[in-house]
């Protein structure tokens, strides 16, 4: 797809500049930001235990990661004992092949999908379409971007980058069977139309694919959390339910899942609890009147096992709430598509280089001011700035840092380590800048500082350095 070629993480800078010029994006992001940050704050104010729950949540995930092999095996056994099947997949191709195999085994022509970031990571829709199987995204946001042939721009609000008039335009272009004169401006009419269109499709699919927020080792259950109910209809009505999950989604017990659920919705949307939290265990039972006849779980690695035992292990605690991007001033400026892959914002800035390589995604951990707001709001206390810094170190060590920055730092460090020389050099520079900028007090353009003066005035120094003035005043 053209779109994906254009938006690689490598192109972050270019993507970002294009996104910054997009007025619709700016409008959409301005609208959403307050909802997320204000909502989260309110939910937290209502729960005095929130910070203690965050500690617990972190500890649970750490415990799982330290014993991941054990819990995966326990989980697998439980799934099998409840009549389900577990498939292991090292790469996205393995996931695609497994999904296609299962689909072929029931002669599927149509697949319904609940929102799944692992599905995005594995390009499942493309794989299905290439094999002649229709994939229908049922989450409203996912549906909107699917008909626009876009990637999600946010891990929990896939269409957060769009305004309602953009959605209206896409609906008119896609739902050509409906009256072109119909009124469709406002969100309620848009939702109504999507509901009607999708309702028919629920009954056509032979396979339903969902993600999983958690996999419970104690019971072999998968848990999804949604607000729309699409995930439930997608998994209940078709004959086969496939769960796509990465290996770190495991939690030991239902109690542990409950703790994580308490921090998830509050961090994500500011809800006390999402509307639908669904715990699924195996296929339908003998006497059941509904539910899928087959239940498959595909466990994906795709580079995660390489993060274990490294400084990036903490990232595997992530429960995909999106709070980091909702609070990130960089994400809120450029939107999710600038990041060029599935995971945007601070969590993406750490995860994407881990999964795609820092040579592909080196910009992402660099495009941060280290303001620390992401870490402040993370429900599982991932030290995101620290991990971005680790990527910068790895990048520097493998000589991937751009030459200009590299030599600039070396030259600067040479001076800094020689304070007397530094003082003399800086004294001269300050003097020159002062003489040049004295009249205005500032510069509107400066050689070597174009990045600054393109957008801002540069203040002129006061004439002498502090060190010069101080030694003069001390000698008086």
């Amino acid at each position: 797809m053209l779109l994906m070629v254009e938006t690689l993480p490598k192109q972050f800078k270019k993507n970002a500049s294009r996104q910054l010029a997009d007025e619709d994006l700016r409008k959409a992001l301005t609208k959403s930001k307050g909802h997320f940050t204000g909502g989260r704050q309110k939910a937290i104010d209502n729960l005095p235990e929130f910070d203690s729950l965050r500690d617990k949540a972190r500890d649970i995930k750490d415990h799982v990661l330290e014993n991941l092999d054990f819990y995966l095996e326990e989980y697998e056994q439980k799934v099998i004992s409840t009549g389900g099947k577990v498939h292991w997949a090292s790469t996205k191709e393995d996931v695609q092949n497994t999904v296609l195999e299962i689909c072929r085994s029931v002669n599927a022509t149509s697949v319904n999908k609940g929102k799944s970031m692992i599905g995005e990571e594995c390009d499942i829709n493309e794989a299905l379409e290439n094999s002649g199987i229709r994939a229908v995204e049922t989450d409203l946001g996912e549906y909107i971007i699917q008909i626009r042939d876009e990637r999600p721009s946010h891990i929990i609000a896939p269409a957060v980058h769009l305004t309602k008039s953009q959605v209206e335009k896409s609906f008119r272009e896609t739902h050509t069977h409906l009256d072109p004169q119909r009124i469709l401006e406002e969100p309620p009419t848009l939702l109504e139309e999507a509901r009607t269109v999708l309702r028919g499709k629920y009954f056509e699919a032979q396979v339903g694919i969902t993600g999983a927020n958690f996999l419970v080792a104690e019971t072999g259950s998968s848990i999804i959390v949604t607000n729309e109910g699409n995930g439930d209809l997608s998994q209940l009505l078709p004959k086969v339910h496939i769960v796509l999950a990465s290996i770190e989604k495991i939690v030991p017990s239902l109690e542990d899942a409950s703790t994580l659920l308490r921090v998830l919705a509050r961090s994500a949307t500011g809800q006390e609890f999402s509307v639908y939290t669904t715990v699924s265990t195996g296929p339908r039972r003998k006497a059941d009147l509904d539910g899928p006849e087959e239940y498959h779980v595909i466990l994906l690695d795709n580079g995660r096992t390489n993060m274990l035992g490294t400084e990036f292990q903490d990232m595997l605690r992530c429960i995909r709430c999106g709070a980091c991007m909702n609070h990130c001033p960089v994400y809120q400026s450029v939107g999710g598509h600038a990041y060029g892959w599935v995971y945007p914002g601070p969590m993406g800035a750490v995860l994407t280089p881990s999964l795609l390589g820092v040579d592909e995604a080196g910009h992402l951990p660099n495009a941060s001011t280290f303001c620390g707001r992401c870490e402040e709001v993370c429900p599982v206390r991932i030290p995101l700035p620290k991990l971005m810094r680790h990527w910068r170190q790895r990048e520097f060590e493998s000589h991937l840092t751009p030459k200009f920055a590299r030599y600039g730092i070396k030259l600067w460090a040479y001076l800094v380590k020689r304070p007397s020389l530094y003082k003399w050099v800086m004294g001269v520079q300050v003097k020159i800048l002062f003489l040049l900028g004295k009249r205005q007090g500032r510069f509107s353009s400066l050689p070597f500082a174009g990045g600054w003066t393109k957008y801002r005035e540069f203040p002129a120094p006061e004439g002498k350095t502090f060190q010069q003035l101080w030694s003069e005043s001390s000698n008086e």
């Binding site: 609208k31 909802h35 235990e49 649970i60 330290e66 092999d69 054990f70 995966l72 095996e73 292991w88 090292s90 393995d94 909107i144 609000a157 269409a159 309602k164 969100p187 309620p188 939702l191 509901r195 999708l198 309702r199 009954f203 104690e218 259950s221 607000n227 729309e228 109910g229 439930d232 209809l233 209940l236 009505l237 290996i247 030991p252 017990s253 239902l254 109690e255 542990d256 703790t259 308490r262 949307t269 006390e272 609890f273 509307v275 639908y276 939290t277 669904t278 715990v279 699924s280 265990t281 195996g282 039972r285 006497a287 059941d288 009147l289 509904d290 539910g291 466990l299 274990l308 035992g309």
Partner: protein, 236 residues
Amino acid sequence: MNEQRQIILNNIRRSLGRSGPMDKEKISALKDRLTSPKRNLIPERTSLTSSSLITLFKDMAEGVFASVEEVDRLSDIPRAITSYLKKENLPSQVVMSSDEVLDSVPWEEQPLLGISKRIPEKDDMVSVTSAAVGVAETGTLAMFSGPDHPSTLNFLPETHVVVLPKDRVAKSYEDVWDMIRNNTAMGDRNEKKEMPRTVNFITGPSRSGDIEQTLLLGAHGPRRLHIILVDSKETN
């Protein structure tokens, strides 16, 4: 796929700095953690007497746009449903299943209410179910799937009416797990004390914020969630 399994497990062990499987002591400690799971932190807000717990449940459910009404007896339910449907301008045709609570309601006393006992179809407008538990902490209903409660009833029709006996209001999600483990909430159908195929926690009617973060009710699941809290299981 077995090969993949081994590759992934080996990778994990290598990354974690272990050459083989864990030692036995460690394994038995981890198994204990799974067989007798401990509760983590439960929010203080549910440390209440049973009547305040019901108030909390009601407040929380209404806070997420469910409507809640209270009736004294099971025999009040048919009339309550009829007048709710009338008020909302909905047809008085409902689809429901047979379960312990619903079967003890004297439906015949309200002949205007059309009842179909089956799993719902595409055009069914209203479903009636009971709920296994009401979780006061967040005004959440817990539904267990089974022959007496097909999950589709919770999602397909536009309006979902839920009957919840007040003695089923519990504090936290953890109470739900204990009920399943102790077989106290599912009658004889859970002799093995196993997880139902589906546990649905439902907190208010379906919604979406996907268009400009505008909160809209009724995305794919029900637009309306009406909870009828009933005082006792007795008919009279």
